[in-house]
Symmetry: C2
Subunit: 134 residues, 2 copies
């Protein structure tokens, strides 16, 4: 039975939620160390990974740079500062996106957007079907 709720796991989760931010592993490490000084960075990484698999937090695979972890695991998009790399949640429903709306999101001045459609390519679909047969 996986997912033991250890002390360090609980603290990692709690401190991320308390922060209300989209932190990187090492940013959170600094915070968590104040509560549990002997915790290791590897443990923070491992727990963030596990907690996001479990769905208790979200994992942000933001373009190119460090991963960030989201205290709010619900479905929502993000707004990203191209200068300081800060990330905020975007609570506008997709239907309501208008240039006006977006321009005022959280006081950001909008410079662009980045969209990736995610899916499974034809080749990988074939491979999956093969596996199913075994």
């Amino acid at each position: 039975m996986p997912l033991r709720m250890t002390n360090q796991r609980e603290i990692v989760l709690r401190e991320l939620q308390k922060s209300k931010k989209h932190l990187t592993a090492d940013e959170l490490y600094v915070i968590v160390k104040k509560v549990m000084p002997r915790i290791s960075l590897a443990t923070v990484y491992r727990n963030l990974e596990i907690l996001s698999e479990t769905g208790l937090i979200g994992k942000l695979e933001i373009s190119g740079r460090q991963k960030r972890f989201d205290y709010d695991p619900g479905e929502h998009d993000h707004i990203y500062c191209v200068i300081c790399h800060r990330v905020d949640n975007l609570d506008i429903a997709h239907e309501d996106w208008t240039p006006e709306q977006l321009r005022n999101v959280a006081g950001y001045s909008i410079t662009g957007y980045r969209l990736e459609i995610l899916g499974i390519c034809p080749d990988c679909q074939k491979k999956q079907k093969k596996k199913e047969k075994i």
Copy 2:
């Protein structure tokens, strides 16, 4: 006068274009090495960076670890295979996105999407204004 067109730069550009794919630096390195065996990986990295700054190719800050470079520098979105990490261009105009349309893109089976709005956060806007005054 920057941007000398060296042999290695030309080959890096040409082989990326020939591939018609969204390659990582090291994938392209393997290809380029066949034509110019003594080229170094660092040179491939440097040239991809310069070529994308110049606008001759595109740089994809796609989620995940490695950067990919796009033979097509024009404006367009991307579709991303969550299994093999392959990337394809998406030629549908934003206005035409419908679940139907997307479901048939390039034979992919769509699992989701990822949208990031890019901008400058309030704090960074303030900092910029300060700089302007100096």
